[in-house]
């Protein structure tokens, strides 16, 4: 009893005092890098959209594939990881009573390593020495420096993961027998996944480096590709899990409601952590060298990830309805009007969640074998991840920024910026409807992804795709406007908005909630189960790929 009293007193003290300047500086720096890369990556995206629609010819010194590589790496890897780390370190600081000095130090070391890695990776891309896409499938061989950059980046991420683990372990030692605060629990899930999935890409990169340097002659193409997707797919889901944290915890507070069941939230996190990594195989459904029965087992492993997401969908709408009805909402659907649509902190993540309905459905469709064969490597896939990653995740991150940035900079969200944020959300949604919608449709017609503007020698089929690609350009332009507004808003909130205190919105659980079982805190066991699931997914195909490997491939640089 005494400890809980002391605890709540301390919590209140921190809440009153706000975040410590050092912790704020750390998170602010991460967020600044994140939104800078968003700006650059977004502008590169515009170039691509315009080129793909045949409206813009890129100069000879700037190759389409070079731009695409940079766009992918900046947005999928850098924007997201810097945002997530900045966000969750702010979470730790807020909910776990300030960062430990050594944890802060680790995060800074990680920051510097990542920046070094980023610079090392970007230089060869700028010199057109690494136009290999962010998937860098061997036997495409980039300049070795590109891979060194990736190594630094991954080690940087590991530093941040260790920092997070130390912070949480320390808190648990001081608060024996208690549940880790829910957002820090999310952070643990995210960093566990980041750490274990990046081991795969680290192995791949260490396979590639001696080969790219010319020390070994050939490489096992299939194995490298498989290792990549063990990482690549998980990465996307990590950003998704970060976004989900805001859906479960922050959004209910913003709309003035309570959190859905704490147990369910933690179970969803555990399921997403345990099931995620083998899901990567659905990127390889039409690959040679993997047996049909193995592919079939992987349909299950991929679809299983959908289950926690469907649980999330239920939970979210339950919270919305409950809160709206409490505020006097009636009817089957009329209660929707009681939600605070004019608050960007709600609107942005809400649109993100709505986008996840078609996004998730598309995901379930394309991870089943035969349906995948229709959509694989067409623009459908690009449309899909612009809905999930580009909308569900990015828009949630934007929504977070409207309270996280002022919270860190000890400023406030003014009604003007709120309004700007509403416009931003509208631009973004409209842009995505145009762009992702057109991509899905033209993808079904057969238009491939990852190709610059082409009519395939004036082929009639290819020419018939052009009108859809025009929508893509329109959408891309709207999105660029959205990005400019967003970056302006972040800069404003960080440096120019009026001083004041902003709340870190964390919703409470229902009063009648049943206590959460303690096993949810046993991360050691969860990790072991996760490793077993990874083993289930990977042992069969990987052993087959190594034992029955064809002679390897030498490096190629076809650009």
């Amino acid at each position: 009893m005494e400890t809980t009293l002391k605890q709540s007193w301390r919590d209140n003290a921190y809440r009153a005092l706000g975040i410590s300047p050092e912790d704020a500086k750390l998170s602010k720096t991460y967020l600044l890098v994140s939104f800078t890369t968003l700006l650059i990556g977004g502008l590169l995206g515009l170039l691509q959209g315009l080129n793909r629609a045949g409206l813009l010819e890129l100069p000879t010194w700037l190759n389409y594939y070079q731009v695409l590589t940079a766009h992918g790496i900046l947005l999928i890897l850098v924007f997201t990881s810097f945002f997530t780390i900045g966000y969750f370190y702010a979470v730790h600081s807020h909910t776990l009573g300030g960062l430990l000095p050594k944890v802060r130090k680790l995060a800074w070391i990680g920051f510097n390593l990542k920046i070094v890695g980023l610079v090392l990776a970007v230089i060869p891309i700028l010199m057109n020495e690494a136009s290999v896409m962010f998937t860098f499938y061997p036997p495409l061989a980039a300049h070795p420096v590109f891979y060194f950059g990736l190594v630094f980046f991954v080690i940087g991420i590991w530093m941040c993961a260790f920092g997070s683990f130390i912070q949480v372990a320390n808190w648990r030692k001081e608060n024996k027998g208690q549940h880790v605060p829910i957002l820090s629990y999310f952070a643990t899930g995210v960093f566990v996944l980041l750490f274990f999935s990046s081991i795969f890409v680290a192995i791949e990169v260490f396979m590639i480096i001696p080969w790219a340097l010319g020390w070994v002659e050939t490489i096992n193409v299939m194995l490298a590709r498989t290792l990549f997707w063990a990482f690549g797919h998980t990465l996307v889901n990590i950003w998704y899990l970060s976004a989900v944290s805001a859906w479960y915890v922050v959004v209910p507070k913003v709309i003035g409601g309570r959190r859905f069941s704490d147990t369910l939230t933690r179970v969803v996190i555990i399921l997403l952590v345990v099931l995620n990594i083998p899901g990567g195989f659905h990127h390889q459904i039409i690959d040679p060298g993997i047996h049909e029965s193995v592919k079939f087992l992987h349909v299950f492993m991929s679809l299983a990830i959908g289950f926690p997401s469907l649980m999330t969908a239920y939970a979210m709408f339950a919270v919305f309805e409950k809160t709206a009805r409490k505020k006097g909402g009636r009817g089957i659907f009329r209660w929707f009007s009681k939600l605070p649509w004019g608050d960007v902190r709600f609107l942005a993540p809400m649109v993100a969640m709505i986008a996840f309905i078609p996004g998730g459905a598309g995901g379930i469709a394309q991870s089943t074998n035969q349906l995948n064969q229709v959509a694989h490597n067409t623009l459908w896939v690009v449309g899909h991840f612009h809905l999930t990653l580009g909308t569900s995740v990015a828009l949630t991150f934007f929504g977070i920024s409207y309270w996280l940035v002022p919270y860190l900079s000890k400023r406030v969200l003014t009604p003007a910026i709120n309004k700007l944020g509403i416009y931003q959300t509208i631009f973004w949604s409209a842009g995505m409807v145009f762009m992702a919608g057109a991509m899905h449709w033209v993808g079904l017609l057969g238009s491939p992804r990852r190709t610059s503007y082409t009519t395939y020698f004036d082929n009639a089929t290819a020419l018939s795709w052009d009108p859809y690609l025009m929508f893509l350009a329109v959408g891309g332009t709207l999105l660029t406007i959205g990005i400019l507004i967003q970056v302006y808003a972040v800069i404003h909130l960080m440096f120019f908005a009026p001083k004041g205190e902003t709340e870190f919105p964390i919703a409470d659980v229902e009063d009648i909630a049943t206590p959460t079982p303690y096993w949810t805190e046993r991360w050691g066991m969860i990790i072991v189960i996760m490793l077993l699931v990874i083993g289930m997914g990977y042992v069969i195909p990987v052993v087959d790929m190594i034992i029955n490997a064809p002679p390897g491939s030498p490096p190629f640089r076809p650009w």
Partner: protein, 155 residues
């Protein structure tokens, strides 16, 4: 954990959708033989030109209305290209890559497969309708990727 009735229904329905997709996919794969292309044979990617059958790529008639297309994919072309076949024929594609990872996709059909160095990929398609089909590479393979295309003419 206590579940409400509607939550239970939702969870069972979710689970049902997933299992349903599974069963349907399995039925199509194992009963109807519509599984995704999964060629298991391997080849030395540096010796494609001297390894049968890829030493002589081309279109071969192997039965009544049945053709085998032995095809190599290489930086920015398909060999053989501009294939012609009569309507109503079943075509078995046997493919490999001579260099990097390519993808083959024929717009308007279900042909879509990764073709990777070291692996022999197979896919079968029946062409009933006449016309010119666009064949293109759908995995980024280099600067000329957007020019890697050919046609199948069904007469």
């Amino acid at each position: 954990m206590k579940f409400h009735l509607d939550e239970k229904i939702w969870l069972i329905a979710s689970f049902g959708v997933i299992i349903g997709m599974m069963l349907f996919t399995g039925y199509q794969t194992f009963v109807l033989g519509m599984g995704p292309p999964s060629g298991m044979e391997t080849i030395d990617p540096q010796k494609v030109d001297v390894t049968a059958p890829f030493d002589e790529p081309g279109v071969y008639e192997i039965g009544e209305n049945e053709y085998e297309v032995v095809m190599t994919l290489q930086l920015f072309s398909f060999t053989p290209n501009n294939i012609e076949i009569p309507a109503g024929s079943t075509v078995h594609f046997t493919m490999t890559s001579k260099d990097v990872t390519h993808g083959i996709q024929v717009a308007g059909t279900n042909i879509n497969a990764m073709v990777m160095p070291g692996h022999i990929q197979r896919i079968t398609q029946k062409f009933d309708e006449t016309g010119e089909y666009l064949v293109l590479c759908n995995e980024y393979c280099g600067t000329g990727h957007q020019f890697m295309a050919t046609t199948i003419t069904v007469k």
